[in-house]
Structure formats: structure tokens, C-alpha cells
């Protein structure tokens, strides 16, 4: 049974239709990469999975339970199963790195302060930043902030980790560190991962399965190998990073 199911998901913001009848089954313990040009609803898709957005139509199911229509209080319980790495980390500026990682543990567990600190420290060690605890997020580099955000995302021992453009804004070396971390966490914790990215190197490295969103619909569904061999012009242009006539039409008019 899939751990997550999205059934005929549709979402619009004003007149802008972002998702149209998107259906997706996500297998337990696998890494799914969601590709697509900017503005095609990749992050919107992630936010539907954790209930930050409600679909206009369609359903979201987690472990056999429909979660798109449940109350916020019940959703809070379901969310304990998810870790979410936000695009810019979304660390709380007013808390130290250790307090950031400890935050979900304080909210959801009855552990003592000492146990929470120890567990948060373990998570920081897991992402390779054991010394970062007492520092503030503002003192860290972009890559380090993402790793601390990842430590926070795994603090509760989630079943699913959602990565929203984890390598955006990082140099190729730092990007690879994040990719290795994604692989390491999957191997060590056995989590299901959903990675939204534009970064093809990252996609090829971490994906068990790749889907591509285009114009609000699922345009491609396959593996890293099959996407490389795809003859679909939209897929090929995206992989090669080549702008098409549609994208360049404004230049001809100008």
C-alpha cells in the first residue's frame, strides 16, 4: 500500500490554475523527485501533502486516512509523521540552532529538557553540525542553515520528509552535501522522501522515481534512466535547460 496518495488534486489561486487533477501514489521508503518549471505548482503540491493548503477538489490520503478534510487539531497529530525542509530553511531567528531542532520535541513529546537537548544534539550530529547548537541561525551560511533545518525536520523521527528545493542557492559542492544527506537519511532512517527541485544533478542522484509537473498536470512519470531517454520535447528541454520558443517569445516582441 502506498504511504501517500493524491487523488485528482486541483488547486487554483484566483484565475491561475496551479494543479489540475493531479493523481500520485507514493511508495513507502522511496525517494520521489518532483521536477518542473517555476510556477507549475511543485511547492503547492508539497503544501497540500501536509495540509498547509486545502485542495479545491481532490483528496490527500496518508496511511489509509484521508487528511485533506480533517480538523486542524487532528492534522497536528498527522503532521508528527512529516518532516518539512523549507526552501530557505525557515529556522526561527530568535532561537538558537539547538532550540530550533528541539522545538518539535518540546511541542509533541513529554521528554525532559535534558533528553530533548540530547536528542536535538544527535540530530545536529547526524547532519554534520554538532558544534552549531549554541549559535544563532543568522550566524550560519546558507548550506549550514539548510542542514540545521534538516536536523529539525528529522527530530521527531518522521515517516516522510518533504524537501522544497533543498539545493537552491547553494554552490555545487554544498548541493552535493545536501544530496548525500538525503541519501544517508533515507538509508539510515528508512524514510519516504519527496524532493521538489530544479536541480537535475540532484534529481538524478537521489531519485528512485521522477515525476514532472507541467502546466499543472503530471507530464512525466518514470525513473532517472527513463527520463534521460525520454523523447518528449518538453522533458528534454527541461533536462537540457534550453528555453523554447514560448519562453523566448517576449524577446522577439521587444
Amino acid at each position: 500500500m502506498p504511504i501517500l496518495s493524491l487523488r485528482n488534486l486541483s488547486k487554483r489561486f484566483g484565475r491561475n490554475v496551479v494543479l489540475r487533477d493531479v493523481s500520485l501514489e507514493i511508495e513507502t521508503g522511496k525517494t520521489l523527485v518532483v521536477l518542473g518549471p517555476s510556477g507549475t505548482g511543485k511547492s503547492v503540491l508539497l503544501k497540500h501533502i501536509v495540509g498547509l493548503l486545502k485542495p479545491d477538489r481532490g483528496e490527500v490520503w496518508f496511511e489509509g486516512q484521508r487528511i485533506d478534510n480533517i480538523k486542524e487539531r487532528d492534522l497536528a497529530v498527522v503532521r508528527e509523521n512529516f518532516g518539512f525542509l523549507f526552501q530557505m530553511g525557515a529556522l526561527f531567528d530568535s532561537l538558537t540552532n539547538l532550540e530550533n531542532v528541539a522545538f518539535p520535541l518540546k511541542e509533541h513529546t513529554t521528554l525532559s529538557a535534558v533528553e530533548i537537548a540530547a536528542k536535538a544534539q544527535d540530530c545536529l550530529a547526524m547532519v554534520g553540525l554538532p558544534e552549531a547548537g549554541p549559535k544563532m541561525p543568522g550566524e550560519m551560511s546558507g548550506g549550514q542553515r539548510k542542514r540545521i533545518a534538516l536536523a529539525r525536520a528529522i527530530a521527531m523521527g518522521p515517516k516522510v520528509i518533504l524537501y522544497d528545493e533543498p539545493t537552491t542557492g547553494l554552490d555545487p559542492i554544498r548541493s552535493d552535501v545536501i544530496n548525500e544527506l538525503i541519501l544517508r537519511l533515507q538509508a539510515k532512517l528508512g524514510v519516504t522522501s519527496i524532493v521538489v527541485t530544479h536541480d537535475m544533478n540532484s534529481a538524478f542522484k537521489v531519485a528512485d522515481r521522477i515525476v514532472m509537473l507541467h502546466g499543472g498536470v503530471l507530464h512525466f512519470d518514470g525513473t532517472a534512466e527513463t527520463i534521460k531517454q525520454s523523447t518528449d520535447p518538453i522533458v528534454q528541454r527541461f533536462i537540457a535547460g534550453e528555453a523554447g520558443d514560448d519562453e523566448l517569445a517576449w524577446m522577439k516582441k521587444a
Binding site: L52, R79, M88, A90, F92, F103
Partner: protein
């Protein structure tokens, strides 16, 4: 052309009503969380740092403003009262104005500028950097975790800051009237005592509770709903101050009318002269 104007007016009215409705929902959710969290020790651990920011750090600016207003009132009113031989009643005029209107309104306006803007900027930045979403994902409701402690701090500390503003306003007026303009202290205080009673002091303090609530709710709402980017946060801060300021003025008018009617119904008309 008239059709376009009417359409524009209709759209603006519609948008304003939608924002007001959204604000009412936000207030409802905040009060629901307040009722749920008010007696939890965890909430008060979050309230204390906010009380320090809202209260302790605002004391100097609120007190100074109050003192200068008391002094200015003394300077401006003295010549007029002296011309009719009533300068000894200057204390009554200054002190009743300070404790009933100027103290509470100035304290609230200063708070709206100092704290309201800061709250909107803080929550607005959290909003645009997805920290509010991060809270939700981690199962902590942003209204319960962020808004309720700030609202409690604003509600509890605006009346206390009002007392500071009153106190310094009274002292400022005394300093100018008695020490500088040479009005004898005994009649100055005697007339003040006759004019200002506990009712009037409590009227100002009571208003402070509601002004504080309005500042807290408006500032947090503007932060939660601000547009993206630095300009969105900046615009939200401006809107937060302007809306809080207008709300304070509007509330003050209705409170003034209500308290005056109530006072007259109980004690009758009381002349300062």
C-alpha cells in the same frame, strides 16, 4: 466613465469588507486560543519576554512623552487662565486632561508606533520566510504560539504604561506650573484634587486595556497577512500603525462619550470652576 468609477468603488468596498471579515475571523480564532491557553504555564513563559519588550522597553519613551505634554499644557494654558485670574486652577485643567484623555491616548499611540510596528515587522518577516508555515508543520498553531502571548502582553501592559504616562504628565505639569510659572503649590494641588478622582484615573486605565488589545490584534493580523518581500513587510508596518492609530482615536471618542454619560448618570455634572 461613471460605470468604471462605480465598478472601482464596488470592488474597493468588496475588498475592504473581505479584509474586515478576515480580521474578525482572526480575532475569533485568537480569543478561542486565548481561552484555551490562558491558564497554561507554557503560555506565560512566552508572555514574559513579550512583556519585557512591550512594557519595560517602552517606559522611557511613554514617560518622556507624558512629561512633555504635561509641561506644554502648563505653558499653553497659563496665560489664558491668568487673564481671568484663575491660574491656580491650572493643575485641575492639566491633570484631568492628562489622566482622562492625553495620558491613555498618547501611551497607546506611542505603543502603536513602537511595538505595533515591531510586532508587524517580526511576524511579517516570519510569514514571508515561511516560519509560520514551519510552525504549522511542527504542530504548533501560530496564533496560539505567537499571537496570544503578544496580545496578553499588550492588554496587560498598556494600562500600566498609561499610569506611567499619567504620572509623568502630572509631574511635568507641576514642574512648569509651580516651579517655573510660580503658581503656589497648595492651591495647585487642592484644585487638582477636587477635579481628579479615582473614576477619572480608572477611566484612562480601563481605556488602556482596550487600546492594548486593539494594538496587539491589528499588529499581529497585519504581520500574518503581509505581502511578500521587504516592500510587503514595510507596507504592512505602515498600515499597522495607521490602522491602530485610527482605531485608538475612534475607540477613544466612544469611550469618552460612554464614560461621560455614565459619570453624569451616577454623580451628576461636575464643574472645574
Amino acid at each position: 466613465m461613471p460605470a468604471a468609477l462605480i465598478e472601482n468603488l464596488g470592488r474597493r468596498t468588496n475588498n475592504s469588507l473581505a479584509v474586515f471579515g478576515d480580521f474578525c475571523v482572526f480575532c475569533g480564532q485568537t480569543f478561542a486560543w486565548l481561552a484555551r491557553l490562558l491558564f497554561r504555564a507554557k503560555t506565560w513563559r512566552l508572555v514574559l519576554p513579550q512583556m519585557f519588550d512591550v512594557g519595560v522597553k517602552s517606559v522611557p519613551v511613554v514617560a518622556l512623552t507624558g512629561a512633555f505634554i504635561g509641561m506644554v499644557m502648563g505653558i499653553e494654558s497659563y496665560a489664558q487662565l491668568k487673564s481671568i485670574g484663575q491660574e491656580e486652577r491650572l493643575g485641575a485643567l492639566i491633570n484631568i486632561s492628562v489622566v482622562k484623555q492625553i495620558g491613555p491616548v498618547l501611551a497607546a499611540v506611542m505603543l502603536a508606533g513602537r511595538i505595533g510596528g515591531a510586532l508587524t515587522a517580526e511576524l511579517g518577516t516570519m510569514n514571508v520566510t515561511e516560519q509560520l508555515d514551519a510552525l504549522r508543520v511542527m504542530g504548533a498553531d501560530p496564533i496560539g504560539y505567537l499571537v496570544v502571548p503578544r496580545l496578553i502582553a499588550c492588554i496587560l501592559l498598556t494600562p500600566i504604561l498609561t499610569i506611567y504616562s499619567d504620572l509623568l504628565g502630572v509631574l511635568g505639569g507641576y514642574f512648569v506650573s509651580v516651579k517655573t510659572l510660580g503658581i503656589p503649590a497648595a492651591p495647585y494641588w487642592a484644585y487638582s484634587d477636587k477635579a481628579v478622582n479615582t473614576w477619572q484615573i480608572l477611566e484612562g486605565v480601563w481605556k488602556g486595556l482596550f487600546f492594548g488589545g486593539a494594538i496587539g490584534l491589528i499588529s499581529c493580523y497585519k504581520g500574518f497577512t503581509c505581502g511578500s518581500g521587504a516592500s510587503g513587510v514595510g507596507r504592512a508596518c505602515t498600515e499597522s500603525f495607521v490602522t491602530s492609530f485610527l482605531t485608538i482615536m475612534c475607540m477613544n471618542f466612544f469611550f469618552a462619550k460612554m464614560f461621560q454619560d455614565l459619570y453624569r448618570a451616577i454623580y451628576g455634572f461636575q464643574s472645574l470652576f
